[in-house]
Symmetry: C2
Subunit: 197 residues, 2 copies
């Protein structure tokens, strides 16, 4: 069943070990911040800094396992029609990010979306782990300079992740509308996901 | 006053806004995992993923500010005689890391060293933030491959960091003795630091 991650909002779901999660960039330019938590102990969660230390890739590739903060596989990357461009380097946006960018007043943000998405299924994240930012385009240079670029993904492209343990998956359709990280139109959109048997 | 970070151990100290912290690679090949916490609210702490998002550098450079998870400067990089080679990508080592590497039984690790160092001054870290790994050599390629290499630092080289708020600094002289990250001899050593007025 196709489920909607509404524009600028978060959504979480339970996934059983062995199920696959298809995350779809429906309109083509939407970053989807993604988190995963061990269903039996949510203080164990997918960790970008632990994943990089074992996988030795800045961006996980097909066949790579995403590790938890206990260095166990929690998700594996099975398919990717988005050209392999995702991000593991950047924090989820938060109220402080939009203040830094000059926004006045509250702004939707991925950190609050994680909490709201998990709250809707009766949970609270133990912290805000650094997310796996699907479809986010953060190029690096050999001298270590990073930039926030528009996505190179296309409408309908997707990633398929396999659950390696029973887990809680959480998504945020990133509400960034000041930088072009969700496309040069700076117009966040919905995205979708489907849990496959 | 020169203070010792004993080999394989952690150490924490209070630092006032405006003071500078000189971190010395005494024997030349020792990685020093470094954390900083807001002294008034230790749930606000130095965050690699927030620092990269604003600084746009994989490795902070002289003049760069290290940001907290509230995106405020907490430390600034003032001097660096280590050739600018440090790491922001890798998690602190932990019991799971040494299990993964085939070690049987307990192994000293930076995660436990952070907790022990803070406990010695009456505090407990709210979580284990991804550390600023001083003198750690993690080269990347343009295709995003990472490796754990021996340090390129030299005996007595140092980094000077300036405290931008009242803070707690914590260090771990990394006890990694399986990979050559502390030198090809795989022999962790002490390091030192000094808080300058």
């Amino acid at each position: 069943m196709l489920q909607t991650i509404p524009a600028r909002r978060g959504k979480a779901a339970f996934v059983e070990k062995g199920q696959r999660i298809k995350v779809i960039n429906t309109h083509g330019a939407q970053v989807v911040d993604t988190w995963a938590f061990n269903r039996d102990d949510i203080t164990e969660f997918m960790s970008m800094e632990h994943t990089r230390a074992t996988g030795h890739h800045i961006i996980p590739r097909i066949g790579d396992a995403m590790l938890t903060n206990h260095r166990r596989p929690i998700l594996s990357v099975m398919e990717d029609t988005a050209g392999g461009i995702h991000d593991t380097l950047m924090a989820a946006c938060d109220i402080y990010r939009y203040q830094e960018l000059g926004h006045v007043g509250y702004h939707d943000n991925c950190t609050d979306n994680l909490a709201a998405g998990m709250r809707a299924i009766g949970l609270a994240p133990p912290e805000t782990p650094s997310p796996f930012n699907l479809f986010m385009n953060i190029p690096w240079t050999i001298d270590g300079t990073l930039s926030f670029d528009a996505p190179v993904s296309t409408p309908g492209c997707y990633v398929i992740l396999r659950a390696e343990i029973d887990l809680v998956i959480a998504f945020s359709a990133c509400p960034q509308d000041i930088l072009p990280i969700n496309g040069v139109a700076c117009q966040p959109t919905e995205a979708h996901f489907e849990i496959l048997g």
